[in-house]
Symmetry: C2
Subunit: 460 residues, 2 copies
C-alpha cells in the first residue's frame, strides 16, 4: 500500500498546473442542449481523451445517439474496481448580459479561503470531474500505478437528459464491470462539511405548446373575439398547483412515501432554516407545499416547476399582438416510487382537458428518470465517509439531495452497481445560472479527497 | 372646380411610378418601438419631407420626445381646410422566420384583382399614407393646385403609443387649424365595400415583471422550496378573466354602455359570422365574453389580451432552471367612458394583491387612450360617404372599429376637430404579423377615393 502523504503533497504543489488544465477544459463551449455547439461537445470529448491517454489510461471516444462518451480504463488485477462517472457537457449560458465576464473565459476571482473559479461548467461538472482525474494523476505520478482498477465514463449529454447513454451502457456492459460506481456531481452539506448523497429525486420534463390562430393577430381587430394562447397556457400552468402548493395532476402523489419517524426526527435536529437556505438567493419564505419542513420540500417531497415560458411580443416597448402560439417547459422532481411514464400520461391528459376546442396543444415528453436511494449498509459508504472526514476534519454526512442524475438509476438497473455520490460543489455555486463558480478549495480539497478515497477503497 | 376625370386618369396611368415611390418608402426600416431603429425612423421622416417638398408643400421635420413628426402645408385661402394624419413608423418584424421574404424588401405578389404589395408597413400605415399623398400629386399634376387647403402630419411613434405627439400638437395648435381631420389607418368593410370608421376602442398597455430569487436557480436543488416567478405570473394572468370570459379587475366595466336597441338590431342584420371573421385565421369559435354577438365583442365591448410573456429557459431542449424573473405585456381595449388612468390604478392593485410576500412586482404603464366616437350628423361624413360610394360602386358604410388610434382623441381635445377615418386596408392584411400586405387594388382605388373626397369636400 503506497503512502498517502507524498500523493497529497504532490496535489498541493501541482495545484497551479492542475488549474491550468481545468481552465483549458472550461474554455471549450460544450453546451449539449443547443445543436449549434455540437462540434464543441466533440472537442471536449477529445480533450479528455488526450488528457487521460497521457496519464496512461486506455482511452476512446465513442458514439451515442447524441454526443460522444469518453471511455477510459486502467486495469489492476486483484484490486477493487471503481467505475467513475461525470459529464463534460454544460448548461446554456443565457442570460449572457448577467455574466460579469464571458462564460467560457474562466477566471480565478477573490482572495484567500474564498477564491473562486468562475466559468460555465466550473462546478457542473468539469471542475468536479477534474478532481477525480487529478487525484489519479497524483497517484500515478508518485507510484506509477493506481490503488484500484479504474474505469472512467464521461458523457456529453447529461444536461440533455443523458440522451443515448443508457443504450451505450447496455451495449458495453462487459467493459463496465466494477465493484462500485463513483459520481462527482453533487454538493457538500456546507462549505466545511463533506457529504455523501444517498438519494436523488427523479425528473420528468415536458414542453407544452398551445396554438390558436394560424398567425399573430392585431389585438385591436381581434381582441375579445380571437382565442389567445397565452391565456390558455396561463390557465393550464396556474392550475398545476392548488392554494396549498400541492400539485393537482390526478394521482401525482401515488408512490410518494413519508420518511420514517426517526429520519424526520433527525431532520428536525438539523439547523436547516429558510434563512440559511433561501437567504443567500434573496428569498425569505419557502414556497411549495404548506405544512412541510423545508428539508422535506427539497428531499422527500416531489415538486413541479415551470422552467420557461414564451409567447407573443417580448422585446422592448409595446406591440398590440395576439400571438398565434405560446409554449412552456414544465418539469417535475420525483421521489420514491413515482413513475415518470405514468406521470407523462396524466400530465398530457391534464393539459388537453384544459384546452378550448379551438386550440391545438402539443406536449413533448423529454426523457424522465425515477428517484433513487442507496442501501445504508453499503460497505463502501462507511469507508468513503471516513476518508472524507479525515480530509475535511468534520464528520461526512450521508443525506438525500433534490437534484436528479439519471445515470445512477441506469447503473443500478443495467450493471447492478450502487453509486457513491460524492461532490464538492456548494449550494451557492450558481450552477445553471450566470457566473457559475467552483471554489478553489472545493477543487483542491476535492482532489485530495478522491486521492484518499481511492486508497481507502483499495485497503478495505 | 377642376374636372375629376383627368385626375383619376392620371392616377391610373402613373400607377407604376406611384408603386415605385411606395416601395422606396417601404424599404426604410422605421420600427419605432425598438431604439436600434432610431436612425431609420428619422430616415423615413426625411424621405417624406423630400417627397412632399417636391409636390410643392412647405415641409419640415420637427422633433418630439421620441421620433420626429413630418409637417407639410399647402394653403388655399377661402377653400375648406383638411388636416391629414398618418404614421411612417411600423411594427417590429418578429418572428422573422415566418416571412416568405425579407420584410423590408417589398414585393408585388399574385395576379389580377388580388395582386398584393407584401412588406412590413405595406398596409399599416405606409401604403395608406401614400394613397393620400398620391391623390394630392395627381391633383397638382393636372391642375397645379389642390381643391382644399391641406395640412399633413405624419408621425413616427404611432406603434409606440404616439409618444411625444400630443405635446407637439398642443405646441403647434395655430399651424394645425382646419375644418376636418382625415386619417387613413383603418380597414374597408370587406374587399368591395368602403367604410368610414365612426368609433374606435381606446387602449391601456402595461408590462408586469415578477422577481423572486435574485438569480436563476437549479430546479433540482431549489424546486419545491423557492418561489417561481412564472407560477406567480401565470396565476395573475389566469385570474384576469373569469369562466364567462369577463375581465375580473374591479370596476373594469365602469363606463361601458350597451349600444342602443336599434344599433343592436342593425348589427343582427349584418352577415358578420365567426366563419367569415375567424375562419381565415384558422379559428372557429369566438373567445371572450359569453353571450355576446361577435360584432359586439370587437366593437362595443372592452377586451383584455396578454400580448407577450417571457421567463426562464426558452431555447431548444431542456434546462432545469427556476427563473429569477418573468414578465408579461398586458393590454386592454376600452370603450365608451372607460378611463385608462383609473384602470391603471385598478390593474396595478389587482396584480399586487396576487403577489406573494417574497416576490417583487413592477408594473410599467404605457400611454393609454380613451375610446372615441364621431357625431353621426357631421356634415363631411355624408359627403365623403358619397364620394366613396361613387368610386367603389357600393354604399360606403359607417361603423365602429376594434382598434385604437390615440391621436383622434387628441385632435378632438386639443384642436376641437372631428376626424373622418377612411382606410383601404383589409382584415386579412396581416398587419403586425409576418407577411403584411396591402392589396394593389386598395392602393390604386384608395388613391382614386382620396382624389374624389378632396374634390367633394371642396364642392360642399
Amino acid at each position: 500500500m503506497a503512502a498517502l502523504d507524498p500523493i497529497l503533497n504532490d496535489i498541493d504543489t501541482d495545484l497551479d498546473n492542475a488549474l491550468e488544465r481545468l481552465f483549458e477544459f472550461l474554455r471549450i463551449e460544450s453546451i449539449s442542449t443547443d445543436s449549434a455547439y455540437k462540434g464543441e461537445c466533440r472537442k471536449a470529448a477529445h480533450w479528455l481523451e488526450g488528457n487521460l491517454t497521457a496519464l496512461g489510461f486506455e482511452t476512446s471516444v465513442e458514439e451515442t445517439s447524441l454526443h460522444p462518451v469518453v471511455y477510459a480504463h486502467k486495469p489492476k488485477p486483484g484490486a477493487p474496481h471503481v467505475l467513475f462517472y461525470g459529464h463534460y457537457d454544460v448548461q446554456p449560458v443565457d442570460p449572457l448580459n448577467l455574466w460579469t465576464h464571458p462564460p467560457f473565459e474562466p477566471r480565478l476571482i477573490g482572495e484567500g479561503d474564498r477564491r473562486q473559479i468562475v466559468a460555465r461548467g466550473a462546478s457542473d461538472d468539469k471542475g468536479q470531474v477534474m478532481t477525480f482525474v487529478e487525484a489519479c494523476r497524483a497517484h500515478l505520478a508518485m507510484n506509477g500505478e493506481l490503488p484500484c482498477a479504474v474505469t472512467i465514463v464521461i458523457e456529453g449529454a447529461e444536461e440533455s437528459g443523458s440522451q443515448g447513454l443508457p443504450e451505450w451502457v447496455e451495449k458495453n456492459r462487459d467493459r463496465l464491470e466494477a465493484d462500485v460506481a463513483l459520481v462527482c456531481d453533487t454538493s457538500m452539506w456546507d462549505r466545511n462539511t463533506p457529504q455523501i448523497t444517498t438519494s436523488l429525486r427523479g425528473l420528468a420534463y415536458f414542453e407544452v405548446t398551445v396554438t390558436c390562430a394560424d398567425r399573430d393577430l392585431h389585438s385591436g381587430f381581434f381582441g375579445g373575439a380571437a382565442a389567445n394562447p397565452i391565456h390558455v397556457l396561463s390557465k393550464i400552468l396556474a392550475a398545476l398547483h392548488d392554494d396549498q402548493g400541492r400539485v393537482t395532476i390526478p394521482d401525482f402523489y401515488e408512490g410518494v412515501r413519508e420518511p420514517p419517524a426517526e429520519v424526520l426526527e433527525q431532520w428536525k435536529g438539523l439547523d436547516f432554516t429558510a434563512e440559511k437556505f433561501l437567504g443567500p438567493i434573496g428569498l425569505k419564505e419557502p414556497a411549495g407545499e404548506r405544512g412541510r419542513m423545508l428539508i422535506e420540500l427539497i428531499q422527500s417531497r416531489p415538486a413541479c416547476d415551470v422552467n420557461g415560458i414564451i409567447g407573443g411580443y417580448t422585446a422592448e416597448g409595446t406591440k398590440t399582438v395576439i400571438a398565434g402560439q405560446a409554449s412552456a417547459k414544465v418539469s417535475f422532481r420525483l421521489v420514491d416510487d413515482q413513475d415518470p411514464e405514468q406521470l407523462a400520461k396524466n400530465f398530457e391528459a391534464f393539459v388537453r382537458e384544459r384546452a378550448p376546442a379551438d386550440c391545438k396543444v402539443d406536449v413533448v415528453c423529454y426523457k424522465g428518470s425515477r428517484a433513487i436511494a442507496l442501501p445504508y449498509d453499503m460497505p463502501q459508504l462507511s469507508v468513503a465517509q471516513a476518508a472524507l472526514t479525515e480530509e475535511w476534519g468534520r464528520d461526512a454526512i450521508a443525506v438525500g439531495a433534490g437534484g436528479s442524475i439519471p445515470i445512477v438509476g441506469d447503473f443500478k438497473r443495467l450493471l447492478g452497481l450502487d453509486t457513491l455520490l460524492i461532490g464538492f460543489g456548494l449550494d451557492d455555486d450558481r450552477i445553471h445560472s450566470p457566473n457559475e463558480k467552483y471554489e478553489l478549495k472545493s477543487f483542491h480539497k476535492g482532489t485530495r479527497s478522491w486521492a484518499r478515497i481511492l486508497s481507502a477503497l483499495a485497503a478495505r
